[in-house]
Amino acid sequence: MSSTSELNESTHIEGDESPLLGLLNGFIVELRLAGLPVSLTECLDAMEAVSHIPIEDRDAFKYALGATLVKNHSHWKSFEIVFEVYFSVRGSEYEIQENQLENLTDDELSESELKQGDAPSGGGAMSGLSPEELQEMLFRALLNGDQAMLRLLARQSVIRYAGMEPGRPVGGTYYLYRTLRNLDLDSMLDRLMNESREKALNDLTQLEERLEQDEYKSRIEELKKQIESEIRRSLVADRGVEAMARTLRKPLPEDVDFMHASREEMANLRRSLYPLTRKLAARLARRRKYGRRGPLDFRKTIRHSLSYGGVPAEPKFKYPRPSKPEIMVVADISGSVAAFARFTLHLLYAISSQFSKVRSFVFIDGLDEVTRFLEGVEDIGEAVHRVNTEADVVWVDGHSDYGHAFGVFWEKYGKDIGPKTTVLILGDARNNYHASQSWILKEAKQKARKLYWLNPEPRAYWDTGDSILGEYATHCDGAYEVRNLRQLEAFIEKLV
């Protein structure tokens, strides 16, 4: 926060405190509260940038702020939301635009009603429409890809279906759900597809059908976005900017908890995983290259002695061929870590595509090697599916039993652990009060190069209930809380 106060002062130095600077200041504070790292230099840049662009151009204004304040593409979405909320009720220019839109679409509205032939007698006002008519207009607008019309319809549907009441303490998703349920966009898609099938002269080929469908889907997606921002705007008007920004604050992608990630967040996480594993590979490779020095290379030393007149002044050493790091990953995929397990499998896959010598194991109460499912498979979806269906991981009842799983691991694969092997264990150590068999980890640690434990649970929950991480951790080289990408990255940094 200290930098914020500096910022305030810096605006004083620049002289007159214009309302724009104050506004930007507030915006930047809001961005920081949303977790975006905005430095002082960047604030100054932003202030200079907006002085170069026409202030009434909302898009240019947004891009200028974005280019100077947001330096990571995964933060762009958070930035957009803050921008929309923060600047939605400000600026009279924007209001005027809205009115123009209203006028403009009113004309188009009556036109399209004429086309339908059954225009309501109430004139152009949309509130007079029956639900069926609204649905029909939505259908036409989607069919023709009429942007302005869609915007207007989005607003109308929110007014009509969201049932927004001032001061009601529910989130925007509730209103979104209500609106979408009433619009029934799934059957709308079917209708659109039928329409274009009828319109086509011959039968649509598979390819054409697919393309049509994608087109409509993207239009419907656009409509959903319109509705969402419409709801947001009404909420801001109702509750005020600060309160709204607070409720909309979402964790940045690197802070999303693996255990509670939504499907969309999961897809983002997956994408961010690959650079991380590459980093991991690079770190281990560098260590291999520079970390060790071999015995004297006699031949090379003699060769170099020629330049000193036969005196071996500069001893040369052999750099041994770097041995490839061997990694054994043992992952818990039981129900208690289900969401984490999904992520774990992706991590396993990503690691095994970077290293040639990775062996992967999954367990619940039994344990099975899954290397064969992950190696040389190009499609991650298929690999994960095979692991889930084919791996033999249930021994008795399908409740995690670390002790037994480790027992199997030690018995079957323990002999493969060598001084070059790094063992990674992923799990929450919730053992359902079974025997811990922690001696296995002790033995394994002695044989392996390093043994690490990564736990998806917050550190505060460790050793509560049936978690016995503390007992296992004493035998590991380190136990880390890895709940999000940031922590995973920190772990990789530490690894060297």
């Binding site: 940038a49 280019a67 947001v70 598979q206 087109e215 650079p275 979806g381």
Partner: protein, 320 residues
């Protein structure tokens, strides 16, 4: 408080000392139309940031998937403003002797040997480390150039994080410190573009000094325009169809999505083959121009041949 004041003064000072070039661009629309003259179709965001880069005298860091025209943007800006493009291709192991400057050792050696009478060593040393013996590498060359230049630092994510630090001085102060010679100040502030494919996170220090521009795959409209602009004699309907198919393919879960350049290759292929309308057969036969992995090609072919219902099922499974 003190820090802030000195910072601002520094910047003011910096701007006075450097020879101010006239602004290259009048306004955002000018940038946009200028770029489209050299057949680079920029959207508002791209044109706006190029304009700001000129006004704020700041480098632009461009990120985005491979093949979306990041490098091309720098080239087109150079072409449009009639400036010389100086390019520094980054790779692992790049060092200052390749990026900044190097002493011309051979020439220095010759100079010592040519020296007949014994002179004071200090004098010789002073002689040896003068600008005569300095070899400019791209970065130094860019700021010392007399004519207008655009500096492109390509694939900056390939250098190690330590090497990145080399860039910092030149990117913020437009000067180079050479220990033996002192600080070499620039003759101009060139437009600087850095591109990154995002294989690793760049350092905060570097990002802070740049404007950030993310170029994503173009939307349907823009992709169609690009095809029409880049390939003369392209049928409008075919271009539309190509853009739509490519968009559908990009929605699939593939190892590598088709880039804009691959889209253009595909369009050219179809044009050469004299295709007027793309059907499943044509798509299947030529899709290897668009996609480069066997598994991706198989997936795409399956998508366009099977019926859509079964596809959705497999997607569900994949996500589960």
């Amino acid at each position: 408080m003190l820090v802030v004041i000195s910072f601002i003064e520094d910047e003011a000072l910096l701007k006075d000392t450097l020879i101010q070039v006239d602004h290259r661009f009048e306004d955002v629309t000018g940038v946009r139309s200028g770029l489209s003259d050299v057949s680079y179709l920029a959207d508002d965001g791209i044109a706006g940031i190029v304009y700001l880069a000129d006004r704020l005298a700041k480098p632009v860091l461009i990120e985005g998937p491979a093949g979306t025209g990041k490098t091309q943007l720098a080239k087109s800006v150079a072409e449009m403003s009639g400036a010389r493009l100086i390019r520094l291709q980054c790779y692992e192991g790049l060092d200052e002797s390749k990026a900044l400057y190097e002493w011309n050792y051979k020439k220095q050696l010759l100079r010592i040997q040519a020296e007949n009478e014994i002179r004071d060593w200090g004098e010789i040393e002073e002689d040896l480390f003068s600008e005569d013996f300095l070899l400019s590498r791209p970065l130094l060359e860019a700021i010392r150039a007399e004519d207008p230049v655009v500096l492109l630092i390509d694939e900056v994510d390939r250098v190690e994080i330590e090497t990145e630090a080399l860039l910092l001085e030149i990117l913020s102060e437009y000067q180079v410190s050479i220990p033996e010679l002192g600080t070499v100040e620039g003759n101009q502030i060139p437009l600087v573009f850095l591109t990154s494919n995002g294989t690793r996170e760049l350092s905060e220090a570097l990002k802070r000094r740049c404007l950030y521009l993310y170029i994503d795959y173009p939307d349907l409209e823009r992709e169609r325009e690009i095809i029409n602009a880049k390939i003369p004699g392209m049928d409008e309907n075919l271009a539309d169809q190509i853009a739509r198919i490519v968009r559908s393919i990009r929605q699939l879960d593939l190892k590598k999505h088709p880039s804009v350049s691959e889209t253009l290759d595909w369009a050219k292929t179809l044009l050469l083959l004299g295709v007027e309308k793309i059907d499943a057969d044509v798509a299947t036969e030529t899709v290897n121009v668009l996609l480069k992995y066997r598994s991706d090609i198989e997936k795409a072919i399956k998508e366009f041949a099977d019926n859509p219902d079964s596809i959705q099922e497999t997607e569900e499974e994949g996500a589960a």
